[in-house]
């Protein structure tokens, strides 16, 4: 296990309960998406794993050691904080060389990372002149110094354009293939689904749910949306919950379990031009669990996690 959190509780000196109870296990090569509103305890969780603060109770093991007392494991961790502003009066290269030195890496390694994040052409310009996206790429390059075994990224795609976001996720996939474990904190959900293999949704200092997206989908049992374009729709579709008609186009909501039979039924329609099924997205799941969590503080559901990618 790269990260192990057992019944973590963190209360700050002012009496604020940042983490009420949290369990988490991450093995090598897993990518965890950590989701939640502001103040849900995401950043506190990251600080606990980095060893910047100590837990009030419970055990934390990162690469087999307590992070708050074994600072040597920091050499194998990479971190990108939310809203970091690098030294504006230095050039991108100088910034990265400085951080590389602090991580005992050579300048060549830092220059390679500048190339990897397409900052080589701007490397000798002052950070002051960088766009938001360039700053974020510099931050990512910084986090990847020393090929860390565990990478913690707090809102890594904020300010990135769609192309840069995609490139970032490709980097994530690449790092994962090298055996790096990642924790990605985000409330920007679209695009992240296919790159994480575990999701943890937090609210008010505890996990609402954690597991793979497949497991979350099964647990939530959210309806599937089918888009149909045909001459006429049958009066009853298997597992149907609702339907909305616009001209000869329909949006049909069906029970997730009946989606296959519903699709089979619909595929036989006369004049069928479109038949498209869309299962619940991560965003839908997020809203589902957040609403559920608000209705009652339920016990944490921990599903047995399965390895590898899904979807």
């Amino acid at each position: 296990m790269v990260v192990e959190l057992n019944q973590i509780k963190k209360t700050f000196s002012g009496g604020v309960e940042a983490i009420r109870s949290l369990d988490l296990q991450l093995s090598e090569g897993q990518v965890l998406g950590l989701f939640g509103h502001n103040g849900a305890g995401k950043t506190t969780t990251i600080k606990l794993i980095l060893g910047l603060i100590s837990a009030t109770s419970g055990d934390i093991k990162v690469m087999g050691k307590r992070p708050d007392t074994h600072s040597e494991i920091k050499e194998h961790m990479g971190f990108l904080p939310e809203n970091v502003q690098f030294y504006e009066q230095l050039s991108g290269r100088e910034v990265l060389h400085y951080f590389a030195k602090l991580k005992r890496q050579n300048k060549q390694h830092a220059d390679d990372l500048l190339n990897r994040f397409q900052l080589d052409h701007a490397a000798d310009r002052k950070v002051k002149t960088y766009s938001k996206g360039m700053r974020q790429r510099l931050g990512l390059a910084q986090a990847m110094l020393g090929e860390p075994k565990l990478l913690l990224l707090d809102e890594p795609t904020v300010g990135l354009d769609p192309v840069a976001t995609k490139q970032f996720y490709q980097q994530v996939a690449h790092l994962q293939s090298l055996g790096c474990t990642l924790i990605i904190c985000s409330h920007v959900l679209p695009g992240i689904e296919s790159y994480i293999n575990k999701a943890l949704i937090m609210s008010k200092g505890q996990a609402l749910i954690q597991g793979s997206l497949q497991e979350l989908n099964q647990d939530a049992n959210l309806p599937v949306h089918i888009q149909v374009q045909a001459d006429q729709l049958p009066n009853h579709i298997e597992g149907e919950i609702s339907r909305i008609q616009v001209a000869n186009q329909w949006q049909v909501e069906v029970q997730a379990q009946q989606q296959v039979s519903a699709m089979q039924q619909l595929s036989k329609l006369a004049g069928l031009t479109t038949l498209l099924a869309k299962s619940a997205s991560l965003e839908d799941l997020y809203h589902f669990y957040q609403t559920k969590g608000q209705n009652k503080v339920r016990n944490t559901t921990v599903l047995t996690s399965s390895e590898g990618a899904f979807i």
């Binding site: 000196s13 920091k74 971190f79 939310e82 030294y87 030195k101 602090l102 991580k103 910084q142």
Partner: protein, 287 residues
């Protein structure tokens, strides 16, 4: 931030120099180093050549006049420069988010703190030595004052100015470690400067006046040693004890017999204590 065996951590795999070097680079990049050097150089030369104008004299009016006038100006400017150089050392990095980032790096808080202090001390120290040193060189070449006198007078003056600057640098870092925002640190730094450089002497003088001079000598000595700016003044006035133009508190100080050496040691203590307090506040700072 963990702080286990700080000295061991510092000397075994030290990153102090990496951080100090970055601070030094910042100091050059922001033009702090260049501007402070030029400012101090012009200040010293200006006072040497134009200081006599007040008394109706033109040109260089002698070494003792120069040092005493320079000291009375430097006592106001030195602390201000040092505080300006240091008030954002910690809180500035915190506001940018890089303090949080640095604490996730394999460096100890001791290395980070000492590196920051060392780097900024290098900027201040180089400016003082270069600015005043060059002024001394100009005086040596353009006046007929013996080289030896200039060397001794300026060595002591530069050393005391270094200690004065360093103690306010440490105080500035202490303020920076305590404050939550840069704006707060700016305000507190200005208040500290105003109190130490301006108000303190006025208060001590009014105590003297109201008690009609019936203040015990040891109490007065203690009061003067409790302020690094007064120590600086005493060092530079003590060197020219024959001077007639002592005014204010320094006229009182004449009757006390502190040696230059003991005054400099007190000034050194004034560097160390704020620095230790600053480090303590820094380690207690919550991220």
């Amino acid at each position: 931030m963990t702080l286990s065996r700080p000295f061991y951590a510092a000397f075994s795999r030290s990153q102090i120099w990496t951080i100090a070097n970055k601070e030094w680079m910042d100091g050059r990049r922001n033009r702090w180093l260049q501007s402070i050097t030029i400012l101090l150089f012009l200040l010293a030369l200006g006072i040497a050549y134009l200081g006599g104008a007040v008394a109706g004299k033109v040109g260089f009016t002698g070494l003792s006049n120069t040092i005493v006038s320079l000291a009375s100006l430097a006592v106001l400017i030195m602390p201000l420069i040092a505080l300006l150089l240091s008030y954002d050392a910690i809180v500035g990095e915190d506001e940018c988010g890089t303090l949080l980032l640095l604490s996730a790096y394999p460096i100890s808080s001791f290395e980070l703190f000492l590196g920051k202090w060392l780097g900024r001390s290098m900027v201040l120290g180089s400016s003082i030595c270069l600015g005043f040193g060059c002024a001394a060189l100009v005086l040596a070449f353009t006046t007929d004052t013996p080289y030896q006198d200039i060397t001794v007078a300026f060595s002591v003056f530069i050393l005391s100015a270094l200690l004065l600057g360093m103690s306010f640098l440490a105080i500035g870092i202490w303020i920076s470690s305590l404050c939550k925002t840069r704006a707060q640190a700016t305000g507190i730094s200005l208040l500290v400067w105003f109190f130490a450089a301006v108000l303190f002497d006025l208060l001590v003088l009014s105590v003297l006046v109201f008690s009609q001079g019936h203040v015990e000598g040891s109490l007065l000595a203690g009061l003067l040693l409790a302020n690094p700016t007064d120590i600086f003044r005493m060092v530079n006035f003590a060197m020219f004890a024959d001077m007639q133009k002592h005014t204010g508190l320094m006229a009182v100080q004449q009757s006390m017999d502190f040696s230059v050496k003991s005054l400099l040691s007190f000034a050194f203590v004034w560097v160390l204590i704020p620095l230790m307090l600053a480090y303590r506040s820094f380690t207690k700072r919550t991220l």
